[in-house]
Symmetry: C2
Subunit: 294 residues, 2 copies
């Protein structure tokens, strides 16, 4: 197999990895050059700065996933409909330099007459399946916009976006809770976090439960330093409440501090989980490259 430069190009960050033909990650780099920082027409140059030395090696293939395929990105790449596996995604690659540099399409999925979309997480789910030897499962990718992805037979069958990270941020910074919570989040207070997770299972909407972060403080029932963790538990707990987990083992993919929080919340609700980090991203790029050369 050819050497691979894997590029995970998000809204606010650019991460690149050099991977050999056997799938070993030889080197990784990260920068703040997310797509929002790149002027129109400037993407090739920014990639050159980030990984030009790697791209110069003979026979190198480069796969770019994430928001680089969006309207504000390098090359708008139409979403691939679900179900989607290697075959469908490979067919829909958008080649910037034929046979050399391609943008990986995102996926779209329609449910209840409403479309949903993702870009980049499909590669992470492919990587997780490859790493864990799974053909399917429930994959959760926490973050600003947390993705819940259902896969079977090696294909993403469905997914749903939860604006959980963003709800936490806007409530914490811009709602009345900004007056109640301390200025800094501080370390996770596990008991307060789990209290929020459990309360969310009984409350029927975050619109209501979020107010309890204020009243518990008002009545002196939760100390200020516990409130950010409690609110985080309410938000993540609401997300878990709304999903029918059906006894699946969930695979969490993301930054360790986030997957640990979800694992804790899932555990208290009796749901097992495994966690993967950036290795899922790089393995997904590599497995996709492998399928192109099969």
């Amino acid at each position: 197999m050819r050497p691979l430069v894997a590029v995970d190009w998000g809204t606010s960050s650019l991460r690149v990895a050099r991977i050999d033909g056997a799938g070993t990650v030889l080197e990784e780099r990260a920068s703040e050059r997310g797509i929002l920082t790149v002027p129109p027409g400037g993407f090739a140059q920014v990639l050159q700065e980030a990984a030009g030395d790697w791209l110069a090696a003979p026979q190198t293939l480069c796969l770019v996933s994430g928001m680089a395929g969006s309207r504000q990105g390098w090359l708008e790449t139409p979403y691939c409909n679900c179900p989607a596996g290697f075959e469908e995604v490979a067919h829909a690659l958008a080649w910037i330099e034929p046979g050399r540099i391609a943008v990986v399409p995102g996926l779209c999925f329609e449910f209840l007459g409403t479309p949903d979309a993702l870009r980049g997480e499909e590669v992470q789910v492919f990587g997780a399946m490859d790493l864990l030897g799974l053909a399917g499962g429930v994959f959760v990718l926490p973050g600003t916009h947390c993705k819940w992805v259902g896969a079977a037979e090696g294909r993403v069958q469905s997914f749903a976006t939860f604006m959980s990270g963003e709800f936490y941020r806007v409530l914490r910074q811009h709602s009345i809770l900004a007056l109640t919570l301390p200025a800094e989040d501080g370390p996770l207070q596990e008991a307060a976090f789990l209290r929020g997770v459990r309360h969310a299972q009984q409350a029927r909407s975050l619109l209501h439960s979020a107010f309890s972060a204020r009243t518990l403080a008002l009545f002196g029932r939760l100390p200020p330093q516990d409130l950010p963790s409690y609110l985080s538990g309410l938000v993540i707990g609401e997300e878990l409440r709304s999903r029918a987990l059906h006894g699946h083992q969930v695979v969490l993919i993301g930054a360790p501090e986030l997957t640990a929080r979800y694992a804790l919340a899932l555990g208290t609700l009796g749901c097992a989980s495994r966690s993967l980090g950036s290795q899922a991203t790089w393995r997904g790029h590599w497995a996709l490259a492998r399928s192109l050369q099969a």
Copy 2:
């Protein structure tokens, strides 16, 4: 009955009314002198400016409801536990000038180990019951923090706060939806609003459904000018989804543009409603004054 000066003193506004012994509102005034604009110790002076001429009339009674009874207000007044009617509230009045000027306490209610609180809405609910000749019912007071109040036997039995107005604002101004929605809300687009209300009945959390305001725009399925109404429908629809309405007729109390929106949403879900405006506030003050003098 003595003449009454009714004062509804909220966070961001001050409203006063002069009411005769028969309950007729003779005059109303409103200003921006909400409690957040009043320096410590300055409340008597601000009330004097707003209604000093009325207060000078012999035998006048003055009842102050709302956030003036909060920690940041004129005189912190402990919350009255539910169930609470005229008797309980009258007993818990905080007199600033004995027999002449009193602050009406707010209410608290505990559910699932979590306290909830309101200040001022209790007077509006009392007024609505008095105006409509009801001893109970479901009362909804839309706003930044929408209150759902259950009453029976002339007493508030339970209530719940929904941060609906605030969620709409923070999502609209501070989340990724700020990039998707047009700068101004524009007039209500009824079809888009009701589409949001209906979608919320099937979606199981606003964390997920809110993202559809973005994807429907992204896929060109909803024109930009419809998006604010759609998002408003998602938020209000989520609130209605989480309540068990049990075929009750709901009484809406608030500003006409808000109660009209809730009436529309309730109607599309097969739920009847009646709407009241500021007359409920003044009638509540008067009915409370009447009970004090009975």
